[in-house]
Amino acid sequence: MIDATPCATVRLTVNDRPTTVTPRPDETLVETLRRYGCADVKVGCGEGACGACTVAVDGVAVPSCLVLTACCDGCSIRTAAGLSGDPLARRIADALVEAGAIQCGFCAPGVLVTAWCLFSHTRNPDRETIQRELSGNLCRCGGSALMVEALAALA
């Protein structure tokens, strides 16, 4: 769980691989993850508004640019690339692509994590819930309506 009390040494599990990092006090989780090699976690705005850096922290979708790594001791983190073997994630990715919702792809890893967290917690989310959950993931190519359509059909 993300904890308000920061730690100097932080134990993380990133996509099932345990690791220990010693972040700067002001280091955000997205910086840590990208340095760790998670290039699938994208930086779009750095202020929590676009959702390109969304990762699942203990199963909860969060924009990793708003989380301090020092507050993540003991957390299990899953990024989009860490979902490649997951059947639910595969279904979501297929549905998004078949709907023509993915264009430049820069938002896609974050969208996938958000949708995967949503469907992991809620079996059949309604359209309004899907819209609300996806509202934290900007798609400038304009795929949002098609994403909602695709995910609603999946529910």
Binding site: A39, G44, A80, Q103, C104, G105, F106, C139, R140, G143
Partner: protein, 747 residues
């Protein structure tokens, strides 16, 4: 790169994901004042910062940048003066991004403030930004076509309105970035998030005084462009220069704030438009005075200045046309090409004034537009030739879908129409060479390897070209592999701008694939003892047309061709065969083909709260032929949503001389929770100039959406709407510019 994998989108790297051993990081130092003389730049504190290995200021670059040769006014790093807040002044290189940023923070800059020019209406006559433009006007353009004065004198009614269009920015989700590597063999490699690798290639060579043959530009995956990645930027040039100095790879990735400063977004515009209508409701004349806020530098602004007037008439028949267009310099980030370059603002003005006229004349807004529609084979009075048009069908579609919609009080449906180019007929760097080239090779395993120079920025260009090649070869798309994004390995393509790729690169691909098809069939014909003309190329097989049992596998046919020729390959190029107008600026506007769109929007307005809800957008677009239905639909959605943001919530402007906002939290891009229902309708009216009839779909569909929303709002509240975006104060009736005037003949 190859056709990107969309299912696992993290597999293909973007520029920020690239790393080269020994790589160092650059950070730009930017101006904090909108207009000032640079007294001194002290790089010493930066060079003393731990981890910093180099720093440069504007003195390192001898020549000015600018992709249009006649208006090169932009230093790579500011020299002598700064002209907008956020203008790059210096660059610092560190062994880590943090070290570079820390060093950049210590650079001491002494500036002597000058009076800034903050609004376009105050620009003319204010302190000049550039010595060679004492009036702050890039070029005062006046063009007249047909008997304008006579048309207006014959008019039954003359409508006049003044329209304001707010600036907005592209906000592609991937920030700009570049990785430069001066190689031991004395060649420059540059990976960049760009729409125009060809322009970057040649402009970078010029800025660095290198032979273009010593420059290699590569595009990894690009996370959106919308026009914002079509020029050559400071970050690309400084990374290259520093790599040459340090003999190390240098990477730079802009922050979101820096992307906002880089801008090149939609020009703010103020347009006074007059329209002469005769007693039978034909449009006799259009006359516009167009003022564009260009920001501090020219960029592609000359094109914008012409486009702003040149596309005024299409898609309608108009007897005469006149415009005066002035793009003024102000102390803000440079404006530039954003989706629908230059034509979005004038479209808003024309469609709004037409809707106002339709109400006044009691005309059905759709039927009137249909009656005015240009037909196939016609040309506009300024010489834009219409090779095909599905405009009436687009209008029919949006009318059909909206005819039974009941509207309550405060609710209404608005309509608008538009047309857009499928590539500019003349290149940015003037020459008569092909605009697009393609190479294709048949492999003995049955694969076709297509190589093109286009930049896939997310619009699906490579997939579209793959389908066109496969169609020409009679094979499934999966048998064609596309490679692009490397100026060393790929033939030339001018870039992903002006909606040119489907038509121009598509035609080059069809030429190459058609030639390859003949080569393979000829080899098979020799073997089969028949003529190539008597053979058909079917998926995986060559057969004799009249003897379906006789033939050979495709792989055998390719193998036979390899035996004869050594390698089985073909090339093709495309050069537009379109005449320029014989007047100054006559090269800006003509296109091999025009796409057409129509939109309807259903809105409701709460006049007490000043709130507006867009419930539905119907958007019909004539793309000639949908090469890839899903991607065309995706483009229509993208245009509708980008237009929605532009019409309602997105606004770039200056607050006390500072670009504002500079982050996504305040900028107001529509989210999944804000969207209307979007009804995308694809109309196919094949164009003889298009590859297998295809036309563009990436920009044109944006054009009618903004005025359709505004027309709906005007009808819903019974008031004139003459400004974009539709902010609450406007809906509450405050801040509106003047009501349009109507003059009746003899009255």
């Amino acid at each position: 790169m190859s056709t990107p994998d969309l299912r696992w989108p993290w597999v293909d790297p973007y520029v920020a994901d690239l790393a080269v051993p020994g790589m160092v990081y650059a950070a730009l130092v930017r101006s904090s004042l909108p207009h000032a003389v640079i007294r001194a730049i002290d790089l010493a504190p930066a060079l003393a910062t731990p981890g910093v290995i180099a720093a440069l200021d504007g003195e390192a670059f001898a020549v000015r940048g600018g992709v249009i040769h006649s208006s090169r006014d932009e230093p790579v790093l500011a020299r002598g003066k700064v002209r907008y807040v956020g203008e790059p002044l210096a660059v610092v290189v560190g062994v880590s991004p943090e070290a570079a940023a820390a060093g950049a923070n210590t650079v001491k800059i002494a500036l002597d403030s000058l009076p800034p020019v903050l609004t376009m209406t105050s620009a003319e006559g204010a302190t000049p930004l550039h010595e060679n433009h004492p009036d702050n006007v890039l070029r005062d353009i006046v063009l007249e076509f047909g008997p304008v004065e006579e048309s207006f004198s014959r008019a039954h009614t003359v409508f006049t309105g003044t329209y304001g269009y707010g600036a907005s920015t592209h906000a592609a989700l991937e920030p700009h970035g570049a990785l430069a590597w001066w190689r031991p063999e004395r060649r420059l490699w540059l990976w960049s998030s760009t729409q125009c690798p060809h322009l970057v290639h040649h402009e970078l060579a010029r800025l660095l005084a290198l032979d273009p043959a010593a420059v290699r530009v590569m595009t990894p995956r690009v996370g959106g462009g919308f026009g914002g990645k079509s020029e050559v930027y400071a970050h690309e040039a400084v990374a290259a220069k520093l790599s040459m100095m340090l003999h190390r790879p240098v990477r730079i990735v802009l922050s979101r704030e820096e992307v906002f400063y880089t801008h090149r977004g939609r020009h703010e515009a103020l347009i006074t438009l007059r329209m002469a209508v005769d007693s039978r409701h034909a449009i006799l004349g259009l006359d516009a005075d167009i003022l564009l806020n260009g920001g501090a530098y020219a960029g592609m602004g000359l094109v914008t200045s012409y486009y702003a007037g040149q596309f005024m008439a299409v898609p309608y028949r108009v007897e005469s046309l006149r415009f005066r267009s002035r793009r003024v310099f102000t102390n803000g980030p440079p404006a530039g090409p954003k989706r629908g370059h230059g034509s979005v603002q004038i479209r808003f003005a024309v469609e709004r004034l037409m809707d106002h006229a339709a109400l006044h004349l009691d005309l059905d807004p759709v039927a009137w537009r249909m009656a005015l529609a240009l037909e196939q084979g016609e040309a506009t009075v300024n010489g834009l030739k219409i090779g095909s048009t599905g405009f009436v069908r687009c209008l029919q579609e949006v009318a059909r879908h909206t005819e039974d919609i009941p509207c309550r009080a405060g609710e209404a449906v608005g309509f608008a129409g538009s047309a857009y180019i499928c590539g500019a007929a003349f290149p940015i760097m003037p020459n008569r060479l092909p605009h697009s080239q393609a190479l294709i090779r048949a492999d003995r395993c049955g694969l076709f390897s297509l190589t093109v120079g286009v930049a896939d920025i997310g619009q699906g260009a490579l997939e579209t070209l793959r389908v066109l090649a496969a169609e020409t070869l009679g094979q499934p798309p999966s048998s064609v592999i596309v490679s692009a994004g490397d100026t060393d390995a790929c033939p030339v393509d001018l870039g992903s701008y002006s909606s040119r790729v489907t038509l121009m690169a598509g035609n080059a691909v069809i030429a190459a694939a058609g030639s390859l098809r003949r080569t393979v069939l000829e080899a098979a014909a020799r073997r089969l003892g028949t003529r190539a003309e008597d053979l058909d190329l079917l998926p995986g097989r060559v057969v004799v047309r009249d003897e379906p049992g006789r033939g050979m596998s495709l792989t055998r046919a390719i193998a036979r061709a390899e035996e004869r020729l050594g390698v089985v390959m073909a090339g093709g190029g495309y050069t537009p065969r379109v005449e320029a107008g014989s007047y100054p600026g006559g090269a800006l506007g003509p296109s091999p083909a025009f796409s057409f769109s129509a939109a309807a929007a259903r809105v409701s307005v709460d006049r007490e709260l000043g709130t507006l809800v867009v419930h539905d957008i119907w958007l019909a677009h004539d793309c000639g032929r949908a090469v890839d239905l899903g991607r065309v639909r995706g483009q229509l959605h993208g245009c509708a949503i980008m237009a929605l943001g532009e019409a309602l919530t997105e606004k770039s402007g200056l607050t006390r001389g500072i670009m504002d906002p500079v982050g996504f939290t305040e900028y107001g891009i529509p989210t999944a929770a804000d969207l209307p229902r979007i009804h995308a309708v694809i109309v196919e009216e094949p164009d003889p100039a298009g590859p297998h009839g295809a036309k563009e779909a990436g920009e044109g569909p944006l054009l009618p959406v903004v005025p359709a929303i505004a027309n709906a709002v005007a009808r819903a509240i019974g008031a004139h709407i003459c400004r974009i975006p539709l902010t609450p104060d406007l809906l509450l009736g405050h801040g509106a510019a003047g009501y349009p005037t109507v003059e009746e003949a003899g009255g």
